[in-house]
């Protein structure tokens, strides 16, 4: 419509017109209040909406249509409460029907009404968005504030405690103004012969001798009332064993200026001073929960143990980690977790009770065991078996038996070893044991370790190498076994390093380690997709194949990544074959991904197929278009399992899937698989991974 609509007659609201507006406002109120929480009563809301309706009508009947004025009406509607999308929907609905029915608009001003509702919705959305931003911003502020407040309390408390404890090696307690103990240190516990649990919440006065308690109460009251600065008394405290401890007691107030909330009570016992000192030493070197030496102590002890190690038998270092400890804490609670740790500590001590050994608690659920071997020390396998056996006996927590298994890294050391290196090696072995299966143990293997370290360095260097253009896309021919023609192309990676190129399979393994495979895979798909789209113009008709790693297959963002890559290169979804590794293809994440992708038209392949019955069932269950037999089975036809493989291949063909074999290296292998009934193959036999320019995209070229 190019001509602006003529303005409707600005008609004063007749009594009839006023009634019609009343009715419309009431209907609007009715619908809006059914979805929008508001602070207004029904009558208040109705009169607010009635006013907005009047404003709307006069804007619509004005000579010139003023969109900004109508947008402001939308803002007013938002301000009535949490109106939201439902409120907008109902507003548009009720006005869209109601306005044209008002007497003012009956003579056909549909265009004005439509403009008006549009402007109202615009104003509504703007205001609503602003409200959401403001609320989110306020919430963020609240979050910051609450964290800051908490930190501030932390600082205040720390400072409070720090001040007193550093200046004295004595018993220290924090008590509230009524003498109720809020916190105590172990030293005061030792003086009284009680645990911190027993003391916390109890009244300080309960531990003071009846003859002298009145004196202490009076002095503390005087301090609270400001008549006295601090309490300093010789006092007699009651020990749990009935003895009386003669001590000197100091109490002073702490807190913000003018608002003291707590006493710090310091208890000094001359005769106990040395013992206290020892206790503090012990605490610095021991884990409080289990009473075991901590990592620092263990490290120092290891240093001297290495120096004095038996030249023949050496020593054995075990690094243990409880399996699924986090899960256990989540389900049974932190206290149950703590009990379990204490229990494990005891068991470990009993395992090595006959040896010259130290058991320590590292962090969290990790423990260290050092055995200084002698002729009578059992071998590593026996020690590990004993540990597992001890731990297998369940601990009962809330009536439920819990028997944790542990993963164990083991390293054997001698006089020539560096203690720090030993700890690192044990940790390394532990991590390897953990990646295999729970309840495993692994002896440190220096060759393995070296390889592992260089692998890690390589993996970490990948993103940088990619940035520098050292990692490029290569194209691997997919060949039809029947006639040797082009059956497709597989997108692969290559990394050119100064010490020689790194091939696709290794690149993928490395990138999988760090998760870098996710962006890298998306990039590869985009680049190769673009290349194949280009080849299309030269008569290349076969699909592009890309194998996913386990990580990629289960990536929650896989679908958008594929969509982005396809959109970017202009390749249709059904021109892409995506391979999901057989071992993850039935996990729920992968199933979700491949379901959506298959719906889009992407062809799904099961990758790394191992010819076992589980893989077979998986391929059938997900309805794969193609099955790619793992490269390690390429040579199967020449072995004793040839009959089995041939039968399975036939069964695979029967599912209707295209059967493809990876890693074919010889003519004999190619021929065997052709006879067995496989459709397609890839591998060095059909040519090396080639850069785009060298790839023979069209057969017969």
């Amino acid at each position: 419509m190019s001509q602006p609509a003529p303005a409707p007659e600005p008609r004063p609201a007749t009594p009839d017109g006023a009634r019609a507006r009343d009715l419309l406002a009431r209907k609007w109120t009715y619908l809006l209040s059914g979805v929008a929480p508001t602070a207004l009563t029904k009558d208040e809301l109705e009169s607010a909406l009635r006013a907005q309706l009047d404003a709307l009508c006069s804007a619509l009947t004005a000579d010139r249509f003023d969109a900004a004025a109508v947008e402001r009406i939308g803002e007013h509607v938002v301000a009535t409460g949490y109106v939201g999308e439902d409120g907008l929907r109902r507003t548009v609905d009720v006005l869209g029907r109601g306005l044209p029915a008002l007497p003012e608009f009956r003579s056909g001003h549909a265009h004005r009404v439509a403009l008006g509702i549009g402007a109202l919705a615009t104003g509504f959305l703007t205001a609503n968005r602003r409200a959401v931003f403001e609320q989110q911003e306020r919430l963020q502020l609240s979050l910051l504030k609450s964290v800051r407040d908490a930190k501030w309390h932390l600082k205040e408390s720390e400072a409070r405690f720090d001040e007193v404890v550093t200046s004295s090696a004595s018993g220290v307690a924090i008590a509230d103004l009524d003498g109720r103990l809020v916190r105590t240190n172990d030293a005061i516990g030792d003086i009284l012969g009680r645990t911190a649990e027993e003391l916390t919440g109890a009244s300080l006065f309960d531990f003071v001798h009846p003859y002298t308690v009145g004196m202490l109460r009076e002095a503390m009251r005087a301090v609270v009332e400001g008549r006295q600065d601090r309490v300093r008394q010789s006092q007699r405290l009651l020990r749990a064993d009935g003895d009386v401890a003669r001590i000197s007691l100091t109490a002073s107030l702490v807190g913000d200026a003018g608002a003291s909330s707590h006493f710090v009570v310091v208890v000094e016992d001359g005769t106990e001073l040395m013992l206290l000192q020892n206790e503090l030493n012990r605490q610095a070197l021991h884990d409080v929960l289990t009473g075991l030496p901590n990592r620092q102590f263990f490290g120092t002890h290891l240093e001297s143990a290495v120096r004095r190690a038996d030249p023949v038998h050496g020593l054995v270092l075990l690094h243990l980690d409880l399996d699924a400890f986090g899960l256990l804490c989540d389900s049974l609670g932190r206290r149950a977790g703590e009990r379990l740790l204490v229990h494990v500590a005891r068991r470990l001590k009993s395992v090595v009770a006959r040896e010259k050994a130290m058991v320590a608690r590292f962090d969290g659920d990790e423990f260290g065991v050092l055995v200084e071997s002698t002729a009578g020390t059992p071998d590593i396998a026996t020690i590990v078996a004993a540990v597992n056996q001890e731990l297998a006996e369940p601990l009962y927590v809330d009536g439920r038996g819990v028997a944790p298994s542990a993963s164990i890294g083991v390293v054997r050391g001698g006089r020539d070893d560096d203690p720090v290196e030993l700890l690192r090696a044990a940790d390394q072995a532990l991590r390897r044991a953990r990646t295999r299966r729970r309840g495993q143990w692994e002896v440190f293997d220096p060759v393995h370790d070296l390889a592992e370290r260089s692998r890690q360095e390589l993996a970490i260097g990948m993103p940088g190498a990619w940035e520098r253009g050292e990692i490029t896309a290569r194209y691997r021919p997919v060949v039809r076994l029947a006639d040797g023609g082009a059956g497709g192309v597989e997108a692969v990676l290559r990394w050119d390093r100064p010490d020689g190129p790194v091939g696709h399979e290794r690149c993928v393994r490395l990138a999988e380690k760090t998760g870098f495979v996710l962006p890298l895979g998306e990039w590869l798909l985009g680049v190769a997709g673009g290349q194949v789209a280009w080849w299309r113009r030269n008569g290349f008709t076969s699909p592009l194949t890309a194998a996913l790693t386990a990580h990629q297959a289960c990536d929650a963002d896989l679908v958008p990544r594929v969509v982005r890559a396809l959109d970017g290169c202009g390749l249709a979804a059904d021109e892409l074959v995506l391979g999901f590794p057989a071992r993850v293809v039935t996990t729920s994440e992968a199933v979700d991904n491949l379901g959506v992708l298959a719906e889009m038209g992407v062809r799904i392949a099961v990758e790394d197929f191992a010819l076992g019955p589980d893989d077979f069932a998986a391929a059938r269950d997900v309805g794969a278009h193609a099955i790619r037999v793992a490269a390690r089975w390429a040579d199967l036809g020449t072995g004793v399992d040839a009959g089995y493989a041939a039968a399975l291949t036939a069964a695979l063909r029967d599912t209707g899937a295209t059967v493809s074999v990876s890693g074919v290296t010889t003519a004999a292998q190619a021929q065997w698989w052709r006879r067995a009934g496989a459709h397609l193959a890839t591998g060095p036999f059909f040519g090396a991974d080639a850069p785009a320019g060298d790839f023979r995209a069209t057969p017969g070229e």
Binding site: T29, Y30, L31, S33, G34, V35, A36, P37, T38, A39, T41, K42, L45, G81, Y82, V83, G84, D86, A131, V132, F133, Q135, Q136, R138, L139, L141, S142, L143, K145, S146, V147, D149, A150, K151, H153, L154, S157, E158, F161, D162, V165, T166, A169, V172, R183, T184, N185, D186, A187, A196, Q277, L280, N281, R282, Q283, A284, H286, V288, D330
Partner: protein, 281 residues
């Protein structure tokens, strides 16, 4: 070796950082705000709300109906001469909160909010910074002495005059072991005659299995708050010897509804939360 104080600290330091500042755990207050249509929430809260909506598609209307109940109750209490309110478990001060409703009727109304969620408290402090007649107290309802004796409570509320005590969508987070009946008795005892008490409480009396699903969702969410539904009699007992005003303890939508905003189109949502108001004789 020098003694270190770290060992001492390991013994005494507990709850320095309140776990509820952990925003990887959903908060009931923020989830409720999302259900009302607000944006005072984090992704984790919205995720929980969406799960709740999946098993109970009209959960939003239950939240809205409870909010509308609050408005009616505050206006009713003001009509009975109450001008001071204690709102325990106030949560995020979202739309149509007590001071907004009350001060719109009578600007002299004074309101003390109480919540234990540090984020809700910080939010309320920001929001009430310019309001002399309203304040927030950071406390757990299980500690009546801390709430009733707090300087802000004492500043704003005169316990010799009638008080409107609001304990809405709160007591089902208090398990039986914490003795909600004993707690409520303590609060009731602190009030002057003529005071009013309003309670809303989730019930399983309708034997709606969707509610069980919601309870399970909350249980699985790692939230510190866990839901305890209670029967009509159990909720009734929370009012003690206060006299219930008409129509008694009913589905909160059925408590003197005044318009379509006060009820849900889904009948079950009108019954899943009990609401009632009682007066101290």
């Amino acid at each position: 070796m020098m003694p270190s104080i770290e060992g001492v600290f390991a013994v005494v330091q507990t709850e320095w950082i309140p776990p509820s500042v952990d925003i990887s755990v959903p908060s009931m207050a923020r989830t409720y705000d999302f259900l009302l249509g607000g944006a005072h929430n984090f992704a984790v809260d919205r995720a929980l709300a969406e799960q709740v909506e999946r098993v109970m598609p009209d959960a939003r209307s239950a939240a809205r109906v409870n909010r509308a109940f609050l408005g009616r109750v505050v206006r009713h209490m003001i009509g009975q001469g109450v001008t001071q309110f204690l709102d325990i478990g106030s949560g995020i001060p979202t739309v149509a909160n007590v001071h907004e409703v009350a001060q719109a009727v009578d600007p002299r109304c004074r309101v003390v909010y109480v919540d234990k969620d540090p984020i809700a408290v910080a939010h309320s402090e920001l929001m009430l910074a310019d309001n002399d007649h309203a304040a927030i107290v950071h406390a757990d309802m299980r500690d009546p002495a801390a709430i009733l004796g707090h300087p802000e409570t004492r500043r704003l509320i005169d316990f010799d005059q009638p008080v409107g005590l609001l304990v809405l969508m709160m007591l089902h987070w208090v398990p039986d072991e914490a003795d909600p009946w004993g707690l409520m008795a303590t609060y009731r005892d602190a009030l002057a005659p003529g005071s009013h008490l309003a309670i809303t409480h989730v019930t399983a009396d309708q034997q709606d299995e969707r509610l069980t699903d919601v309870t399970d969702l909350i249980k699985d969410s790692r939230s510190a708050d866990q839901l305890t539904e209670r029967s009509h009699d159990q909720v009734l007992a929370l009012f003690g010897d206060f006299e219930l005003v008409e129509p008694g303890l009913v589905g909160c939508a059925a408590w003197r509804p005044g318009g379509p905003g006060d009820i849900s189109d889904t009948p079950e949502m009108n019954m899943v939360i009990y609401g009632g108001v009682a007066r101290k004789p």
